[in-house]
C-alpha cells in the first residue's frame, strides 16, 4: 500500500526525483540488468550490473550481451504469444513478469513496439511503474524529443528482423537512467 501511494503521486509528476529514489532505498531491492528492445526485434539498449551495491559497475551496450539479448527476447516473445492465445477474444493479455528460479523478469510493452525489460530479485513483485516512468520521463524526453537522435534504430531493411546493431548512446539518456536506477542496485 505504501508503494502504491507513492507511485500514484509520481504519475502526477509532482513527486521529485529524490523522493522516488528515497522510496526505492527504503525498500532495499536489487536489480541485475535492464534492456530495451524495439519493434524490429533489435536490442537497442542493454545495461548489466555485475557488482551488487556498486551502481557504476558492469557493462553498457556490450557486444558480449548480444546472445543473452536474443535469448531474452525469444523467451518473452514466445511467452507473449502463448498468453495471447490463452486470452479470451478481445482482451489483451500482456506478460508483466516472469519468475524463474533465480530471478524475476519484468516487462513493459508499449503500443509502438518498444519493450522495456528489467531483471531483478524477488524482493518486489511489480516494477511496472518504474518501467513506465523510464518510458515516459526518460525515453520520450531524451530519445523521442531529441532531433539529433534517430527515432527508429533500424536505418534500412537489412537492419530489421533482429539484424540491427545500433544502440542508444545518447549521453543524457544514459546518465539520467543511471541516476534513476542507481538506488535500486543496493543489496
Amino acid at each position: 500500500m505504501f508503494l502504491l501511494v507513492n507511485f500514484a503521486s509520481l504519475e502526477n509528476t509532482k513527486c521529485t526525483f529524490d523522493e522516488i529514489s528515497r522510496t526505492k532505498i527504503s525498500l532495499l531491492m536489487a536489480i541485475y540488468s535492464f534492456w530495451i528492445f524495439d519493434k524490429h526485434c533489435n536490442c537497442i539498449f542493454d545495461r548489466e550490473w555485475t557488482l551488487l551495491s556498486n551502481s557504476s559497475s558492469g557493462t553498457i551496450n556490450s557486444k558480449q550481451n548480444e546472445e543473452t539479448a536474443k535469448l531474452l527476447y525469444g523467451m518473452i516473445y514466445s511467452l507473449r504469444s502463448v498468453t495471447q492465445k490463452l486470452s479470451k477474444e478481445g482482451t489483451n493479455n500482456e506478460v508483466r513478469s516472469i519468475s524463474i528460479g533465480k530471478f524475476r523478469i519484468h516487462t513493459y510493452c508499449t503500443a509502438s513496439g518498444l519493450w522495456f525489460v528489467l531483471l531483478s530479485d524477488y524482493k518486489q513483485a511489480s516494477y511496472s511503474h518504474v518501467l513506465q516512468y523510464i518510458h515516459s520521463h526518460i525515453y520520450v524526453k531524451y530519445v523521442t524529443r531529441n532531433l539529433l537522435s534517430p527515432y527508429d534504430f533500424a536505418e534500412n531493411k537489412n537492419e530489421t528482423r533482429g539484424q540491427g546493431f545500433r544502440k542508444i548512446n545518447n549521453r543524457n539518456f544514459i546518465s539520467t537512467l543511471e541516476s534513476f536506477l542507481a538506488p535500486m542496485i543496493l543489496q
Partner: protein, 262 residues
C-alpha cells in the same frame, strides 16, 4: 485580481465593485488569454524544432531540381526523368536526425542558405507574434512612446513568454544600441544530446536551432519600426552561471542584438 505595482492611484479610494482604470485592461487580458485555444506545449516545441530539418530538406530538393534542369539534354532522358518523378507514393524525406547531420556536414554556402531560410521563417513568426501581443491588450505594454530599451524588454518578457513559456533570464545593454539577451535554459534545445564524447560536435549541430529565435527577434524589431538592415542579431553559447541548477543541455544561449539608430 492584483493591481500592477507601477500604478500611481490609491487603490482603496476606488469603489470595490467597479473595476478601476488599471483593472479593466487586466481583466480584458485575462478574458483574452482564457479565450485563446490551448495546444500541447510539447507538440508546439517539436514543430518549432522540425523547422530545421524542413529547411534542410527544402534546400536539398532545390539543389536536386536545379541540377536536373542543367542536365536536361535530349528528349529521351527528359521523359525518362519525368517518369521517374511520377510516384503514386512520393518517397519520404530522410528522417530528421539524418537531415540535421547533413546540415552539419554541408559546405559553407549551403549551410548559410539553410540558416537564411530559418531566419526568414523566424522573421515571419516574430512579425505576427507582435501583432498578436498588441491585440492582446496587455496593460503592461505601452507602444505609443516606446524606446529601444522597452522594446527589448518587451521581447524578453512578453514575446519569450508567449513563445517559450518563460522569460529571458538576463538582459544587458550599453545604452547605445547593443543588447545581450541571456537565456540559460533555452527550452527548444533542452532535450538535445549526442554521444558523450562529441560535445563540440553537439554544440555545432544544435546551433541552427537558435536561428529561428534570431529571426523572431529581428521580426519583432522590424514590426516595431526598426528595419532589419539596421539590426544585427547573432546567437552564441555562453556558460551557465554557477547558481543555476544543472540541466541536460550544458550551455546557455546568448543573443547579441545591435541596432543602429539614425
Amino acid at each position: 485580481m492584483e493591481k500592477p505595482s507601477a500604478t500611481g492611484g490609491n487603490p482603496s479610494s476606488a469603489p470595490k465593485q467597479e473595476l478601476t482604470e488599471q483593472q479593466k485592461p487586466q481583466h480584458q487580458l485575462q478574458i483574452f488569454q482564457n479565450s485563446l485555444p490551448k495546444v500541447s506545449q510539447i507538440v508546439y516545441m517539436m514543430l518549432l524544432n522540425e523547422v530545421v530539418p524542413l529547411s534542410v530538406a527544402v534546400e536539398e530538393k532545390r539543389d536536386d531540381f536545379s541540377s536536373k534542369l542543367e542536365e536536361e539534354s535530349d528528349e529521351v532522358t527528359q521523359t525518362e526523368e519525368q517518369l521517374q518523378r511520377l510516384h503514386i507514393n512520393p518517397p519520404l524525406d530522410s528522417p530528421s536526425h539524418q537531415l540535421c547531420r547533413n546540415l552539419y556536414e554541408a559546405d559553407e554556402e549551403k549551410h548559410n542558405r539553410v540558416l537564411d531560410r530559418l531566419r526568414s521563417i523566424g522573421f515571419q513568426i516574430g512579425n505576427k507574434v507582435t501583432q498578436l501581443l498588441v491585440f492582446s491588450n496587455n496593460p503592461n505594454l505601452q507602444f505609443k512612446d516606446m524606446d529601444l530599451l522597452s522594446v527589448m524588454k518587451f521581447i524578453c518578457r512578453d514575446v519569450w513568454k508567449q513563445m517559450f513559456n518563460k522569460q529571458v533570464d538576463n538582459l544587458k545593454t550599453n545604452h547605445r544600441g547593443i543588447f545581450y539577451l541571456f537565456d540559460y535554459e533555452y527550452p527548444p534545445i533542452q532535450s538535445f544530446g549526442l554521444d558523450s564524447e562529441s560535445s563540440e560536435k553537439e554544440l555545432q549541430m544544435v546551433k541552427p536551432f537558435l536561428e529561428v529565435a534570431v529571426g523572431v527577434i529581428k521580426g519583432v524589431l522590424a514590426s516595431l519600426g526598426y528595419n532589419s538592415e539596421d539590426v544585427i542579431c547573432l546567437a552564441s553559447y555562453v556558460d551557465r552561471p554557477e547558481e543555476k541548477p544543472k540541466t541536460s543541455f550544458g550551455k546557455g544561449v546568448s543573443f547579441h542584438v545591435q541596432v543602429t539608430v539614425q
